[in-house]
Amino acid sequence: MDQALIIEKGIFIVAVFAITMLMAMYSTLAERKIAAWLQDRIGPNRAGKGGILQPLADGLKLFAKEEFFPNTPNKFLFVVGPAISMSMALMTSAVIPWGDRLEIFGRTVILQATDIDVALLYVFGVLSVSVYGIMIGGWASNNKFSLMSAMRASSQMISYEVAMGLSIIALLMMTGTLSLREIAAQQHGMDWNVFYQPVGFLIFLVCSFAETNRTPFDLAECEAELIGGYHTEYSSMKMGFYLFAEYASMFISSTILVVLYFGGYNYPGMDWVEANWGVNPANIIGIAVLFAKLCFFIFFYMWVRWTVPRFRYDQLMRLGWKTLIPLAIANIIITGVVILLADNA
């Protein structure tokens, strides 16, 4: 491996981390603003112009808070919980293709930290580890509410991972690859997967709500029943990490959603742009398009959060096991039949 590649990847990874952090930071502001707007309010507008410095003020406030440890024998695990949540939320970004390629100083820079051929499996693996963040945090809090919340969160995540995996299988049968880069490349122009897999997309969307613990599936932290859920005992920046991880994983899961179903960095007319304006402008527009799409999904997450009330626990389980999973299996069968017919025709 030559040095230039290491430097290139290093810069790229730092940039991706920075952008993820920035997006997560400003998602907190966006969430409060959108919540306010949907409720006919204005939202935070005092820190900076129109509230633009609010995330910094929030961060500063969290830093200034007292660092509290509950009376627990598992002090180490208590610290590990938020760390796992945060690092897992960030790790997924490694395999996401942010764009096709850029040509800088005569080098072709691939806009992806690493292009492994099992990228999708990697994403699922990391996602399933991220439940440990909540599980460990809730366990180490030595508090019945936190433990209850951790149990809810893990059973919810496990249930919805099944449906999520099944919805992806139908997509894989179509694309024939697990590499996110290839999946993105296959959806060239307007050839987006959502047009072929609308049901799969819907199931995936619902499951990603559940996986990121967003309303209507935020049973893990439902204030009315469990105080604060798994982060009841947390304070200061450890609490901040949990909250931040939620927004970071929302950002990442929106990105995966866009890459899998909404064409990633593809946009109609990209060939024309590349032919007439060159590779770099075409790909910079591509990155912008990717961000526009994923911002829409982040907005959608928030929009749903401030519309739909939280599900009851039995409703959640019924929706997961009795509705989504049968639907996903039916989707697989229909996809299989259609592919078979298309191949024979």
């Binding site: 749903v304 401030w306 519309t307 509705t323």
Partner: protein, 181 residues
């Protein structure tokens, strides 16, 4: 009309506990409907009043900070009869009466006056009963929108005569405008 179907508000709805069919149990239609309702609110006018810059429009019967009035000659009207204190439901008013000296005739209208007159703003509920009770029309609740300032000391909320009595130049101006009309 039977008692079950009467709806006084006109908004009574029968609760239905029928079992949901498969499509309803996906909650999709209901959620999409809800999303359309909330997105409409994204574009409606916001009801927030940005307080220090904007102030709320007050009702015509708004009652603000009290004022102890002076008459046309600039003399204090209050005669320390104590009726306002008696009528005050919050027991916010206290006063000390004093006899007027002959050389103070230009200061106080009646032969007895309040040397100390205090309203505890932490107790006052701005009901205006003191104003109603006063036989000398000495105390009024103004339309002033200046709120009582926050403070860490209780003493700061006890408003004495220095804060309550109408400023002299205001009394002079009032007399002048009255004379002009």
């Amino acid at each position: 009309m039977s008692i079950e179907t009467i709806s006084l508000s006109g908004r009574k709805k029968e609760v239905s506990n029928k079992k949901m069919n498969f499509w309803e149990s996906l909650y999709l239609v209901a959620i999409v409907k809800g999303l359309f309702i909330t997105i409409r609110h994204l574009f409606t006018r916001k009801v927030t009043i940005k307080y220090p810059e904007q102030t709320r429009e007050l009702s015509p019967v708004y009652r603000g900070q009290h004022m102890l009035m002076r008459d046309e000659e600039g003399r204090e009207r209050c005669t320390a009869c104590g009726l306002c204190a008696l009528s005050c439901p919050a027991e916010a008013i206290t006063m000390t009466a004093e006899e007027r000296k002959p050389e103070e005739k230009h200061l106080y209208r009646e032969e007895k006056y309040a040397s100390v007159y205090e309203i505890n703003m932490l107790r006052c509920i701005f009901c205006g009963l003191c104003e109603e009770a006063c036989p000398k029309q000495a105390i009024y609740l103004t339309k002033s929108q200046v709120m009582v300032k926050s403070s860490g000391k209780r003493e700061d909320f006890i408003f004495g005569k220095d804060k309550l009595v109408m400023p002299l130049d205001m009394a002079i101006k009032n007399t002048q405008t009255k004379a002009a009309n």
